[in-house]
């Protein structure tokens, strides 16, 4: 009964006598590359099939490797595509200053820009906006001020980042000059005015998704910077 536990090609070995021996010899495991057919007429066909199988295997393997390579190459290619066509919003290369020169303010769309100021808990500065809100129109450059004071007795270096809410309006919010992403050093007991010069892209008025947006909030947050540490500026430059 143990013969039933053996693989089918081995069961004949249980036969006694000469037959058993012959069958066992025949069914011994042959090396896998030996052709299966003993018939000379089908041997050629089998060789043909094997060759074809190998070709197909090569093609499939090449396609798999090609896919993996394409997925790695897609990242810089997509970036290039975004920069040339400007789709996807944030990676348009070149808000040239000629755009500022030629843009026309859209006078009928008034937008309220509110200001918010935050500091990180470890930075003991008094940082606040000098105006709570300002009414601008798209296409018009505007100036706004924040004030920061260092009440401690040591010079402190801070670095700031900003956020625009609603997020989708952030792509129309262009800062010409501000005080963010660069280290700003305040001496002890020093108070400075920090200006922001910005404008809202006139295309804001033509975007249907922005039709209901009337309030944009600009929020700056200051963090403490360890002196000399160069932080990467966000963006694909």
């Amino acid at each position: 009964m143990a013969v039933l536990g053996r693989p089918p090609w081995r069961r004949l070995g249980a036969c006694w006598g000469w037959w058993g021996g012959r069958a066992a010899a025949l069914q011994q495991r042959q090396p896998p590359w030996r052709l299966k057919s003993t018939n000379p007429f089908t041997r050629e066909q089998e060789q043909e099939w094997r060759r074809r199988n190998r070709t197909v295997l090569m093609y499939v393997a090449a396609a798999a490797v090609g896919m993996i390579g394409a997925s790695y190459a897609a990242v810089p290619l997509y970036r290039l595509y975004c920069q040339t066509t400007g789709l996807g919003g944030s990676t348009v290369a070149g808000h040239a200053s000629d755009q500022i020169e030629t843009m026309v303010p859209v006078k009928d769309r008034i937008i309220k820009v509110t200001f918010n100021a935050d500091v990180h808990a470890s930075l003991h500065w008094n940082f606040r906006p000098q105006q709570t809100e300002i009414y601008v129109v798209p296409g018009e450059t505007a100036l706004a001020f924040y004030k920061a004071k260092n009440p401690t007795d040591k010079p402190v270096i801070g670095i700031s980042t900003y956020n625009v809410v609603p997020f989708a309006a952030g792509q129309y919010f262009n800062k010409i000059q501000c005080f963010c992403f660069e280290e700003q050093r305040l001496n002890p007991q020093e108070e400075v005015d920090m200006p922001i010069f910005f404008f809202i892209d006139p295309e804001f008025a033509e975007d249907p998704k922005m039709a209901k947006v009337d309030v944009i909030t600009l929020s700056y947050t200051f963090f403490e910077a360890k002196g000399g540490h160069k932080l990467p500026v966000p963006g694909y430059n």
Binding site: G89, S90, H95, S97, I100, E101, M103, P105, K107, Q130, Q131, T132, E133, I134, Y135, V136, V137, E140, T141, A142, L143, F145, T161, Y162, N163, V164, V165, F167, A168, G170, Q171, N174, K175, I176, Q177, C178, F179, C180, F181, E182, Q184, R185, L186, N187, E190, V192, D193, M194, P195, F197, F199, V233, P234, G235, N237
Partner: protein, 92 residues
């Protein structure tokens, strides 16, 4: 910042400013112009359109004192104010 775990929603990408960062006005050289601008804003109910002259003066102050890169005012969006000024000069 944009730490909402929403896959697929557009998150906010902060962009560096076009002309870089303003150097800090440590000595308060342009403070008077800033005060004038803020007073104008408060008087006009925080409307930017009515206070553009004051903002132009503030930027001119900065440029004079090397606190800002020199740039022609047209490039900063004050073309209409420049046109008004040149027309007023012509009419004189």
């Amino acid at each position: 910042m944009s730490t909402a775990m929403n896959f697929g929603t557009k998150s906010f990408q902060p962009r560096p400013p076009d002309k870089g960062s303003f150097p800090l006005d440590h000595f308060g050289e342009c403070k008077a112009f800033k005060e004038k601008f803020l007073k104008c804003l408060r008087d006009n109910n925080f409307e930017n359109t009515l206070c553009r002259n004051e903002s132009k003066e503030y930027l001119e102050c900065r440029m004079e004192r090397q606190l800002m890169a020199q740039e022609s005012l047209e490039k900063l969006g004050f073309k209409d104010l420049m046109d008004e000024k040149s027309e007023a000069k012509k009419n004189l």
